[in-house]
């Protein structure tokens, strides 16, 4: 009996390691949710069609060598609804989102391009407010918005406005960070409270009749990233910002990239009680909820203590915590040690609990 169970489990593991194939007849909201369906679409369609070395990393930012310089390039589209929410707005997200993708590649963000798709009839004051928010966020993150594009589409076509930003940064570090470099024994760090952004958006939509004092955590991550690079150097394996799909999705991606087990201590991950409560009521695990100003880092064990202190010394990193460890097993998966003294596997997000959060 037990042998048969093992056999079935082994078969599933093999299945999970196969390159995902994109076979769906139509695009559903799940393809945009950052979980398994998104992964299948990106790896099964885009990566196949555009095949090249820089893309193969499937990181949020790619590193391109130009004239001997390592240039990090990243782009991100923002379709959040509502446009404004407690703690931020689409303009602020559009700047911080791309800045953070560059930062996670270890590159100091330098310049952004911004493309606006604006809906006919949008109140100019709304647009002005978002442009102002972008200007402030750019200043805060130390980047310039140097070029852009404007399109207007018919009424009802764009929920007010969509913004796409593309950014470049200089890969200043001598070190290369990649998910594949993660190895057993490494420590997993989290820069602060998780789940705030996604929960704030959910509540701001007003569809749930829930009220709580939860604000988005949108913030530029370069100060935290550079502190980590400085303190851990080549002992820093990789950094990721857990946006759509949350902490669970990032850890699953890293587990798959390095073929290691990521072991997460459930009660070590900082979650605000209000977020925990809202998620409990909605039946959502905060580990799957989006963040817009947090990072996860994997560091070699010897550097973990210094890296944690470095994070905590930077504004926005005060609540950083050691949340887990990399193990050999279960390879390619995330194992959660529950606060209750049990364990479970934390899979990639399936389906779409929270549409349009960034």
């Amino acid at each position: 009996m037990a042998d048969l169970e093992e056999e079935v489990l082994a078969r599933i593991e093999r299945q999970r390691k196969l390159r995902p194939r994109f076979r769906d007849d139509r695009i559903t909201m799940a393809h945009g949710a950052g979980g398994k369906a998104t992964h299948t679409l990106v790896a099964g369609l885009f990566e196949q069609a555009f095949r090249n070395d820089a893309l193969a990393e499937l990181a949020d930012a790619a590193i391109v060598e130009l004239g001997g310089l390592r240039i990090a390039l990243s782009t991100d589209a923002f379709v959040v609804k509502p446009l404004r929410f407690p703690g931020g707005s689409i303009g602020e997200l559009a700047v911080n989102g791309t800045v953070n993708d560059l930062s996670m590649a270890g590159a100091r963000p330098a310049a952004l391009a911004a493309a606006f798709v604006i809906e006919e009839g949008l109140d100019s004051a709304v647009l002005r407010a978002e442009v102002d928010a972008m200007a402030r966020a750019a200043q805060g993150a130390g980047v310039s918005i140097v070029t852009g594009d404007t399109k207007v589409v018919e009424r009802t076509k764009a929920d007010g406005m969509y913004i796409t930003t593309t950014g470049i940064g200089l890969g200043e570090s001598r070190y290369e960070f990649s998910g594949a470099s993660v190895r057993p024994g490494d420590r997993i760090l989290c820069s602060g409270y998780v789940g705030d952004h996604g929960t704030a958006i959910m509540l701001a939509r007003g569809e749930l009749d829930l009220d709580a004092d939860i604000t988005s955590d949108t913030a530029p991550l370069w100060p935290l990233a550079s502190a980590l690079i400085e303190s851990a150097g080549e002992e820093l394996r990789v950094m990721r910002d857990p946006t759509r799909g949350g902490v669970a999705t990032v850890l699953n991606e890293l587990a798959a990239d390095a073929d290691v087990g990521m072991v997460l201590e459930e009660d070590a991950v900082p979650v605000h009680p209000a977020v925990q409560g809202a998620c409990e009521i909605l039946g959502i695990d905060p580990m799957y909820v989006a963040n817009e100003g947090k990072l996860l880092a994997v560091v070699a064990p010897a550097a973990a203590g210094a890296a944690l202190s470095a994070l905590r010394s930077v504004p926005g990193g005060e609540d950083a915590a050691l949340v887990g460890e990399v193990a050999e097993q279960p390879a390619g998966m995330v194992l959660v040690k529950t606060a209750f003294g049990g364990t479970r596997i934390m899979d990639m997000l399936i389906g779409d609990p929270l549409p349009r959060i960034c």
Partner: protein, 373 residues
């Protein structure tokens, strides 16, 4: 989190685990069925089996309301959802359940206006706000969710909201339990009774289980310590040779249930003569339809639906999983053709389904927990 953490204390769990182990006869193998999908979810999410001895096995029963909806009823829902002018509302889990040809989520991608709601009252609100559209609520669930559907219908009637209707798929808890107990291939020692359903129906309806089948029933809450305590209470009954209905969830469940809710149910619903359960087949008097007083709000009367019965896929063994005859991993298609992304059987669709819960949370749970202990 206040009032939740108290029920998730690992030290207390270890103590209860030791007490359960001391009551378990080493020569015996215990099979305890948790009827309710919510319990299954808690068991995997918190890793409860790590605290149980090897010879105490939990069997996951048929109590996931999404999992028991047959494919033909999903197709009927999709047919309504695809009608022009209809806003089709349902609980989130329901959207991914495959019918004979795709799910409500697929219908949404094809242009149907399908929205998920957290309460039928939200669906009624959508109807109020969209007087030029027809709003349909696809009602599912046991006696747990039926009162909220009933209240919504009463409100719709009181406010005379005519662009709202309900496609009723509510089911009742006792008939499937009877059907289970009658199946010859079932081998169980006791039941963990469904907590949420019991807040409405109380504990009395389960008295036939100890009386006629000699098996203990303990109605349990949904926090991990609730479950461990109810397993302890069951083991004590078995150890002392007792079999009776006990209530572990006394902070919420009254022995006689919620009489006001039961009154409302009998006012709004009537018992259907029979209803098809996915995997279990037709069970007589096991589901609720709208009573004549609410016929005007009955989506099945308002719209033409195909009403075609779709046989369960041959390879799928949901029925045996639901009956606890086989474990999820023993199903021929588990984890290969049938996964949470591409579910064949409904046990894989809802996160409360026995297969999805095992797929997401259960793998490695036992072995790694032991290795770590």
């Amino acid at each position: 989190m206040k009032f939740v953490d108290e029920y998730r204390d690992a030290d207390l769990a270890r103590t209860l685990g030791t007490q359960i182990a001391s009551l378990a006869d080493a020569q015996r193998h215990y099979k305890i069925m948790e009827v309710c999908g919510g319990h299954t979810h808690t068991i995997y999410k918190h890793g409860i089996e790590a605290h149980l001895p090897d010879n105490v096995e939990l069997v996951h029963g048929p109590g996931c309301p999404v999992c028991v909806i047959p494919m033909g009823r999903v197709d009927d829902g999709i047919a309504i959802a695809k009608r022009p002018g209809v806003i089709f509302t349902c609980f989130g889990d329901m959207m991914r359940v495959p019918g004979g040809d795709g799910s409500l989520l697929d219908a949404k991608a094809e242009g149907a206006d399908v929205r998920f709601v957290y309460s039928p009252l939200d669906a009624l609100k959508i109807a109020r706000e969209n007087p030029d559209r027809e709003v349909v609520f696809y009602a599912i669930g046991f006696e747990t969710t039926a009162p909220s559907t009933a209240l919504t219908l009463m409100r719709a009637k009181a406010e005379d909201i005519r662009n709202f209707s309900v496609m009723c798929n509510h089911v009742t808890i006792v008939p499937p339990l009877k059907a289970l107990l009658e199946s010859p291939d079932l081998r169980l020692d006791a039941f963990i009774g469904p907590g949420h359903v019991s807040t409405v129906v109380g504990c009395r309806p389960y008295e036939f289980i100890p009386a006629d089948y000699g098996q203990p029933v303990v109605v349990a809450g949904f926090e991990p310590l609730d479950l461990l305590q109810s397993i302890y209470m069951i083991m004590r009954q078995l150890d002392e040779g007792r079999s009776e209905v006990e209530n572990q969830y006394g902070r919420v469940v009254f022995y006689d249930g919620n009489t006001r809710a039961l009154e409302i149910l009998s006012e709004v619903f009537t018992l259907r003569p029979h209803f098809e359960w996915r995997g279990l087949g037709f069970i007589s008097q096991s589901a609720l339809g709208l009573s004549d007083d609410f016929a005007e709000w009955d989506a099945e009367l308002r719209y033409d639906v195909p009403g075609v019965r779709v046989a369960d896929p041959k390879a799928c063994q949901c029925g045996e999983v639901l009956k606890g005859v086989i474990k999820p991993w023993e199903c021929k298609v588990f984890g290969t053709a049938c996964t949470p992304e591409t579910p064949i059987g409904t046990c894989m669709v809802s996160s409360e389904g026995a297969c999805a819960a095992y797929y997401n949370f259960g793998r490695f749970a036992k072995s790694t927990a032991r290795a770590g202990a």
